[in-house]
Amino acid sequence: MSEPNERQRGHAQPARPEPPEPHAPMHPGAGLDVASLPTFGFGQRSPMWWATLGLIAIESTVFALTIMSYFYLRSHANVWPMTGMPPDLLWGSLNTVILVASMVPNQLAKKAAERMELGPVRLWMVVCLLFSIAFLVVRGLEFTALNTRWDSDAYGSVVWMLIGLHTTHLATDTYDSAVLTVLTFTGPFESKRFVDVSENAAYWYFVVLSWIPIYAVVYFGARY
């Protein structure tokens, strides 16, 4: 349980021959040859897919709990929103449209990646990137149209938390996609990067779809 042993082992192993245990399968029987198997796989064949799924599980929980907190606070309030008016619909709705639209190039990028065609992948990744940048810009305007501040009351706090959380996901995923896109141009490129592209697209789906309930809560939870 300590480093010195680690090093001792470095020298000792594997010169030290192991006495075969009474009933351990040490002596080789027939082997199972896997040399012909591929070196990567798409979708749920890839561990990356499961990791992405885990990430999505975590973040969905965060969003769900924040939304619950929103309604919990709302259930304790006499007036909702507490001060001022609900957020203006324009920018938020425009954002929703952009996000939903961004699913098209996203899907095309995913498909291209799964067909392992580098050209289309580059193209659609760039288009997706433009979409995310557009989204981030509009998101900036959206914050100005919330008609509340995080420090004005509990309503403001939870609304800013909701949108802040989602914006964080956008920003990080935008950055990820950017790095990946650059890699598709500069290399060093391996075909297994197509899996990364496809998972990146899958994650973008989550970012888009998680926005729909948040949009509904922020903009209509304050109205009805």
Binding site: E21, M26, P28, Y72, L73, M82, A154, L183, E190
Partner: protein
């Protein structure tokens, strides 16, 4: 398998040597060892704090420390034990054993694994430096608002606590993902889900729980730190916030957390009992279903921490029922183990002793838990020393005792040498007796009205005698832990050599040399049963066609573990370390100024990118041999 192949394999999987290599290490066994030692250091530190508290309470009107210091002490003790020891140590052990048990050469994401350990360690160090600087959190380990809020906890103490949560939960979430992916995708061919060792099942259940439990506390502590630093109002009743929102969010995490600590040891139990009764555990399917049931029910109990609040009574009764119901899966497992003991041939060794303590201590803790589950009883027992006794019975019986058993059991695998049996028995009895002497009197103290978290009590309360007893017991526990440390330090150099399988166990981690070679398995095995080393060998016995000159692992299908593809894992890298440093700057900076969230994210992004960016040489070599699906 010629010696040359073995050497090549070792060279491929070994961590880089030297001082700088130390920061690049990603081998799951290296990281897991460091992780275990780190958590154990925190265990000892928190234990020392407990001793100091016991000294203060040993007699009425104690003058060892004042209220301010005492509040910091019990907050540090609780937070350390929960966030820096109990949960992570289980993940650390799993990080070492899971790949060995499922016949894998590595975990699925070795670099993320390394990063998780670095970030965890840095978070813990931050907490203790803060404590020594008198910035130790002092609002209790569940930091109820408004006491922990901006008005009643001036200064940075609680911010440090909230940020420590962020550090440790980030690490725990990453470890959970690594464990899940490793278990689901990297099992040796033939190890179908219903052939997985029970310990692997417990870690799968635990890790899935982590994904859904930890976000709650991260959200809660983020909201708290926002309230404190940028003036949000989540918990401010004056502006429409609510103090109970914190309690709901915290306990929605806090109760499952108890099971994050309690479920992995169930796996230790099953492994150890099987080995030392020389037979498989009775009722494998029942055990697995019980684990899953526990993991589900654990999310339906949190309100039983809030029975003293003014929530509607009917709702409370529901949570009483749920809290009682969770006893059933535990009962199933206990009965299965007893049946195993009764129908096997018993090899009485120290690991088994520690496991048997479970049947006394966890049982007692579980039964007092049933008392606390009842609303009417809870309002008398809640927040008294009875609860202190209960939670220590549960966490020691269900966590620490099996954990020590696990150390005695797997230490030979970790180091290649046996722990001293005689010292082990001394340690066990000292621990067992000391534990009961310390915590049993606390039940009575609680019933006699001693509330928890009080730094002193007047003489006429008549609590002096039992508190003194408890203090004596605490020092017995300390002596026992000291004995354990001595045993480890001596045995790892002078203990008798273990060989591959000193206990004659049946699961895969005992099939390779001790300590295991860097690549774990010289031949990746093909599995034909739940206890491959006990069952007659069948063919094919092992996998061929995995290169020895690159970090190639076999990825299999989720349910049936059929070979799917050969994945090349990343090579050692310093960037997980640098990313952890950047993240630490980001987190600690944001305690001082909110703007750290902006400028702090730049180094994080840079480090993460360099982490992700492939080495040209490696990438090109791998591109040459890649096979498209």
């Amino acid at each position: 398998m010629t010696v040359r192949d073995a050497e090549q394999l070792e060279a491929t999987w070994r961590d880089p040597p030297g001082f700088f290599g130390w920061f690049c290490a990603i081998n799951h066994k290296t990281i897991a060892k460091r992780f275990m030692i780190t958590t154990f250091v925190f265990f000892v530190l928190a234990g020392l704090l407990a001793l100091a508290m016991r000294l203060q309470l040993a007699q009425p009107n104690g003058r060892v420390v004042g209220p301010d210091q005492y509040d910091q002490m019990f907050t540090m003790h609780g937070s350390t034990m929960m966030f820096l020891f109990a949960v992570p140590v289980m993940q650390a052990v799993a990080m070492y054993l899971v790949p060995l048990m499922i016949g894998a050469r590595s975990v699925a994401f070795p670099r993320m694994n390394a990063f998780a350990w670095w970030i965890f360690t840095m978070g813990g160090i931050m907490l203790y430096v803060a404590y020594f600087l008198d910035i130790g959190p002092d609002a209790g380990w569940f930091a109820y608002v408004p006491l922990s809020g901006p008005q009643y906890s001036p200064g940075k103490r609680v911010d440090v606590w909230a940020q420590m949560i962020t550090f440790t939960e980030l690490a725990a979430l990453m470890e959970a993902i690594v464990i899940i992916c490793t278990i689901l995708k990297m099992r040796a061919p033939g190890m179908t889900l219903n052939r997985m060792p029970l310990f692997v099942w417990t870690m799968l259940a635990t890790s899935v729980m982590v994904l859904f439990a930890m976000p709650a506390v991260m959200l809660a502590s983020t909201a708290l730190i926002c309230d404190r630093l940028v003036g949000t109002h989540f918990y401010n009743p004056g502006e429409g916030g609510d103090a109970l929102l914190w309690q709901h969010l915290f306990w929605f995490f806090g109760h499952p957390e108890v099971y994050l600590i309690f479920i992995p040891p169930l796996g230790f139990m099953s492994s150890i009992i099987a080995t030392f009764t020389r037979r498989p555990v009775v009722g494998y399917p029942a055990m697995v279903l019980a684990l899953i049931a526990t993991a589900f029910l654990a999310f339906g109990l949190w309100v039983h921490h809030m029975f003293a609040t003014n929530l509607p009574e009917l709702g409370k009764t529901f949570f009483t029922a749920a809290s009682l119901m969770i006893a059933i899966p535990t009962a199933v497992q206990i009965f299965c183990w007893i049946a195993t003991l009764g129908s096997g041939k018993i090899n009485f060794k120290t690991p088994l002793l520690f496991v048997l303590a479970f049947f006394v201590i966890l049982l007692a803790g579980g039964l007092t838990g049933l008392m606390l589950a009842s609303v009417s009883l809870d309002v008398q027992l809640h927040d008294t020393f009875f609860v202190v006794a209960h939670l220590h019975y549960v966490l020691f019986g269900g966590g620490v005792f099996p954990l020590f058993g696990a150390f005695y059991y797997w230490f030979p695998k970790f180091t290649g040498r046996m722990l001293n049996e005689r010292l082990g028995r001394w340690q066990f009895w000292l621990f067992f007796i000391g534990f009961n002497v310390t915590f049993f009197p606390m039940h009575i103290l609680g019933l006699q009205g001693m509330t928890r978290r009080i730094y002193t009590y007047p003489e006429q309360m008549g609590w002096g005698g039992m508190n003194l007893t408890a203090t004596v017991g605490a020092f017995m526990i300390a002596a026992s832990v000291l004995l354990f440390i001595v045993n480890v330090l001596v045995s790892r150099r002078h203990g008798e050599p273990a060989g591959a399988n000193p206990w004659g166990a049946g699961t895969l981690e005992w099939s390779m040399a001790s300590p295991p070679p860097a690549g774990n398995f010289e031949r990746v095995p093909v599995v034909h049963g739940r206890y491959p080393l006990w069952q007659p060998m069948q063919e094919p016995s092992h996998v061929t066609g995995l290169d020895n000159d690159d970090r190639v692992v076999l990825v299999t299908t989720v349910a049936d573990a059929l070979p799917d593809h050969r994945m090349a894992l990343p090579t050692p890298s310093p960037w997980p370390f640098w990313s952890a440093v950047a993240t630490t700057i980001f987190f600690i900076g944001s305690i001082v100024t909110p703007w750290a969230v902006v400028w702090g994210s730049v180094p994080v992004a840079i480090a993460a990118t360099l982490w992700f960016w492939p080495k040209r040489a490696v990438a090109e070599r791998r591109a040459r041999v890649e096979v498209r699906p």
